[in-house]
Amino acid sequence: MSDTETRPTRSRREERRLARQYARQQGAWYPRWFWPSFAAPAILWMVVFFAASFYVILSVAFGTEDFFRNPLPVFQPWWWDFGTLTEQLHKIFGGVYQTVYLRTFAYVAIASVLCLLIGYPIAYFVARYGGRRKALFLVLLIMPFWISYLMRMFAWSSLLEVDGYVNDLLTFLNVLSKPYGWLEGKGITVVLGLVYGYVPYLILPLYGQLDRIDTSLLEAGRDLGASPARTFWRVTLPLSKPGILAGLIIVTLPMFGDYYTNNLLSQSPRTTMIGNLIDFTYANTGLAAQGASLVLTVAVLLIVPMVWYLRYTAKAAEAK
């Protein structure tokens, strides 16, 4: 190596040394890897529990089975066999699973809208009128999380029995003329179960968003002559859109994979959701590749709203 080649390097080093020295004097020097390293736990977590796990799902879906009909994942893509996935896709598009997929979409859509209709006023109330009791309201909102989802569903399965309190109340109020068989395989019960189970997840991000809205903007709206309704429609609602979307994403994604709500509140083939199909493959020998293929179809379906959400937030960030 000649001097002419090494000199610039040396001088760059020199510059960095001086910069470090300066920064140290200012008391704010960190090595270059310092700040990025904070992302390491998250990256490690994602690699192990998402990327690697997802690759295993692929390997099971496109893999084979052993003597016991247990899944034998194939990790080399050149040996992957797409037969099972193709078979499942045929069942989904025009086959026996089509109804299940459409049903799941319908349940999730209705439940998400109901979650929003119920959750928005609550979040709005706490953010706007919570006042000094905001913390208390928040605790109350978080309280359902103290009890496991499963236990809450068990509670409902008892309340919704033919001679349960729900029927007692509704017949007393003359809403129903005779007790309704809520638990006898009714889609409406599954949807209400989903709403009940997931609505707190929607309220919290929505509250966060609403709470951040600058009240002076609302005052400005009123000052400029807008009615309360119009202010809400033109100011509050658009400003809370990111919260609505985040909340909807948070509730929609798990609803698509939900199977236990259905198991506890219906158990009828009439209300089978995608999650139930997957659950069956887990509980029965030799169906792991089928189950993994179904998981992939759900993952692909969910990527669409997710990508849309990411693009939306990216655009919103740019706009700022």
Binding site: V56, I57, T285, G286
Partner: protein, 444 residues
């Protein structure tokens, strides 16, 4: 009533309803269990082409046991039975691998007291999960498989052969059938645990015994009980029931036409009676009145009595009814106890098997579990409570409510090999049954 609520989790059966109660654990388990170390190591060559799995799942590598085609399970040189007269391992912890709450803990405690050992209780929710865990290196001293897995388990080298010199109670106490069962000739690997039949449970305040006996399987297809009808969440049991209703008695068939017909008949139930698929419907929900009729294992309906209120009031159990074809044209079978090849305390495990084959302990377990051990000494008629007034739960004879005479399994039912049962299937046929049931579940 000493401990009725313990029954909240008791069950037998090959599906995963209860794992859903513990779904977080189960889903975490699924995520972790799938990539086993051995399978990752096997990735050097294309999986499924070499090693233990070399024969492949569809190779038909193992024989399918039937009463007219009894199977002598293979012995392997590398998995010998233990030698005679070995001392029991000292200070050991017996590792039991069983269905969730399928055994009275008191009986196990009695064993531990007698042999001065501890025990560790590990459970599975279905055979699929159990075999997967065993194959992934789960260590256990005793394991409770269903006999329809026996060829697979022994050809796959997951069990060790038994040394009969430690198990005198089998010959002394158990029905002759189980001293040379068709699925394990010479009982090389298995001793029987409990027996059961599959019939229909009904509430006698809704259906009379005469009506039940006149309708038989049609109880399930009767729109009179709409909204109150349950079947087990199990592909084999449900499709087999639909076949029996139409008079098809080859319950281990691979006939696509018969399976499809059964699937259609099941699908009919969805609108006809608002059918629901459950695992705890019989023992937990029927006593509550959630169901009026439910496909039932005999042990479940016997266990259902613990879910009734006021059990000490005479006549309380009269509400429970059970129908099983008088001509024995319904599925019967048994579960087994085995010792895994991985057992760390095989001598202690033999002692445990012998203990469970003992009259007193087997009977104790029955009074909690509801599933009946095939004890020669157990006079089938004496099992039925003769006097409810003196009836005390969990103690002594008389544990079958008098309204359930057909829930008692009798040794004559197994005699002659002319009985119906759900046996091991080839992978190809198993898939046909599973696919048909999945189609039913989809509710399309």
């Amino acid at each position: 009533m000493s401990q009725p609520r313990e029954h909240l989790l008791r069950r037998r059966g090959p599906t995963s309803q209860l794992s859903r109660r513990q779904f977080l654990r189960a889903s975490a388990g699924a995520a972790l269990a799938v990539p086993t170390l051995s399978s990752i190591l096997a990735a050097c060559t294309k999986p499924g082409t070499e090693g233990t799995g070399g024969t492949g799942a569809n190779g038909g590598a193992y024989p399918l046991a039937r009463p007219d085609n009894p199977v002598t399970l293979p012995l392997h040189d590398d998995i010998p039975a233990i030698a005679d007269n070995l001392p029991i391992e000292k200070g050991a912890t017996l590792q039991i691998f069983n269905w969730v709450d399928y055994m009275w803990k008191k009986v196990i405690s009695d064993f531990c007291e007698e042999f001065n050992v501890d025990y560790e209780w590990t459970t599975f929710n279905n055979m699929s999960e159990a075999i997967q865990k065993m194959n992934s290196g789960q260590v256990a001293d005793v394991f409770f498989p269903t006999p329809d897995q026996m060829s697979k388990l022994t050809y796959g080298k997951l069990l060790q052969p038994l040394n009969h010199s430690y198990l005198p109670n089998l010959e002394a106490n158990m029905w002759p059938t189980f001293q040379n069962p068709f699925y394990d000739q010479g009982w090389r690997y298995t001793v029987p645990y409990v027996t059961y039949s599959t019939g229909v449970a009904y509430r006698r305040d809704v259906v009379s015994d005469d009506e039940a006996s006149a309708q038989g399987w049609d109880l399930i297809w009767n729109p009179t009980y709409k909204g109150k009808v349950g079947i087990y969440d199990d592909s084999r049991e449900t499709l087999a029931m639909a076949m029996l209703r139409k008079g098809w008695t080859d319950l281990n068939t691979g006939d696509q036409g018969a399976i499809d017909q059964a699937e259609q008949d099941l699908a009919e139930l969805v609108d006809l009676v608002d059918v629901r698929t459950t695992i705890n419907g019989v023992y937990a929900k029927l006593p509550d009145g959630v169901y009026d009729v439910h496909q039932a294992w005999s042990g479940d309906i016997i266990g259902a009595q613990w879910y009734l209120n006021d059990l000490d009031t005479p006549g309380t159990t009269d509400v429970l009814g059970y129908w099983f074809p008088e001509d024995n044209q319904g599925p019967i079978f048994n579960d087994c106890i085995t010792i895994p090849a991985s057992a760390e305390h095989p001598v202690l495990a033999h002692a445990f098997l012998n203990f469970m084959l003992d009259e007193k302990h087997a009977f104790d377990n029955f009074t909690w579990n509801g599933y009946q051990p095939p004890l020669t000494s157990m006079d089938a008629d004496a099992l039925i409570q003769s006097n409810l007034g003196q009836y005390a739960p969990n103690t002594g004879p008389g544990s079958v409510p008098p309204s359930l005479p057909l829930a008692v399994v009798r040794k004559e039912m197994f005699a002659g090999g002319d009985f119906l049962f759900l046996g091991e299937l080839s992978a190809e046929d198993e898939m046909k049954w599973q696919t048909a049931y999945q189609d039913f579940l989809a509710g399309a």
